[in-house]
């Protein structure tokens, strides 16, 4: 019965809390699929990364790794697009889960935190957060957007 008691308490807090939880971020719909791996992105909202094009179409990925895989080989996945057509790239900050500009973000490589696709580049908006995460989660390296090369992606397979 203890479990139920806790649940009871937890829920009631929420009954009152749930009015304030609507924090809108550009979210993928249930039908959006990661163009790299085909996974339905909506199932793993925490890891979502997005690319918005100048024609205001958008693509979503289930992690920074697939985003970079795409970014380095746009020809393969969207033959009609290229890097120049991109207007914005966003990733979710690991701690806040809020979208940040990927080109300004930092990525921790080799940590013990796995994404839906296994090894992942964990994104952060702030340098200090990235460093703290690196310590907490046995990360290997903090990378900037341009440091993530196809060779690094290869090493993560």
């Amino acid at each position: 019965m203890h479990v139920f008691k806790y649940l009871a308490l937890l829920l009631l807090i929420c009954l009152t809390l749930s009015f304030s939880t609507a924090l809108a971020a550009p979210a993928p719909s249930a039908k959006d699929k990661c163009p790299v791996c085909g996974m339905f992105v909506g199932k793993y909202p925490d890891w979502v990364a997005g690319v918005t094009f100048k024609d205001s179409t958008a693509l979503y990925f289930d992690g920074a790794k697939d985003l970079f895989t795409y970014y380095h080989n746009i020809k393969k996945y969207s033959p009609l697009k290229n890097q120049a057509a991109i207007s914005a790239i966003t990733v979710n900050d690991y701690y806040s889960l809020k979208p940040v500009d990927a080109r300004q973000a930092l990525f921790v490589l080799g940590s013990d935190v796995y994404g839906p696709m296994g090894k992942e580049l964990v994104p952060f908006g702030k340098e200090a957060d990235a460093q703290a995460f690196l310590r907490d989660h046995k990360g290997r390296k903090v990378l900037r957007f341009n440091d993530v090369t196809p060779a690094i992606l290869k090493s993560m397979e």
Partner: protein
Amino acid sequence: MIQHPAILALTIASLMTGLMLIYAGWYGTWILDKWDLHSGSELQLNLERRTYLISVILSYALLFQIASLFLYIFTADNLHSQFTGAMCAAGSLGVNSFGYPVLILKILNCLLAGVWLIINHVDTRGYDYPLIKAKYGLLNVLVPLVLLEVVFQFVYFFNLKADVITSCCGSLFSTDKHSIAGEIAGLPSGPMQAAFFGIMAATVVCGMVFFLKKRGGYLFAALSALTFLVSSAALVSFICLYFYELPSHHCPFCILQKEYHYIGYALYATLLGGTVSGLGVGVLMPFSTCSSLSGVIPNIQRRLAATTLIMYLLFTLIVVWRMLSTSFTLG
């Protein structure tokens, strides 16, 4: 081991099938050894009675086998959320090295059991049971394979551990991977489409000729088998892409999911059904000269050929419908 009712159900089903087949196989070898139709001895009468039992067991075993093949795939798909990195059955099957062998064995056993039942059906129409040796010879091949499947499936389930990191179908069926799956995924879609529609057309034409003129049975059977292989490769290489509307997702398992309206089950069922009856035509060819079966085999072969044609045409129809109805285009 993950506790899941479906795993329990599959294990029970496979154990039952295994036990039933051991029993059937045991009497099968006995029949191979002692069969003498001209004798009216009690042993012979006893053996003849056993053949009924073995037919019944094999019919049920095939039903169980087909059901368990699909339940197995469905369960693997259902369990993917338990493993990091998996997004469909492909990932769950890759959790340990037994997942895929079990799947291949299940498909193979379904095909073999189907062919066995076709031979059995024909054999019981000939008053001198002319196929008895062939039939029980094949049974001796089938039984060890089913037992192997039972063991492998048990080992696979037993070693399933949650939170294992496995690879997703996206990387498994990636065109950059140097594996069989990767190679198949990497087959160029243009030539593959040509090959798929070519072989389908050839099989259909050959099937029509066989149906109308009763010629080219071996060729038709060989083409049906080839169609199975080519279609499987085509599924990975380009057909899936139309269902996913993604130019690089080659996974043959994701189409089994709810998001794709379980269309994969229809595709695989028609493909398997067509192949079994197509193979049946070929297997019966050497026996069509048998005097006691000369009136029986041609009719059954025609019916089998018609089944194959219908199944394969349905398969092609689903594929073509999807290719035409989606706005997605390749390349």
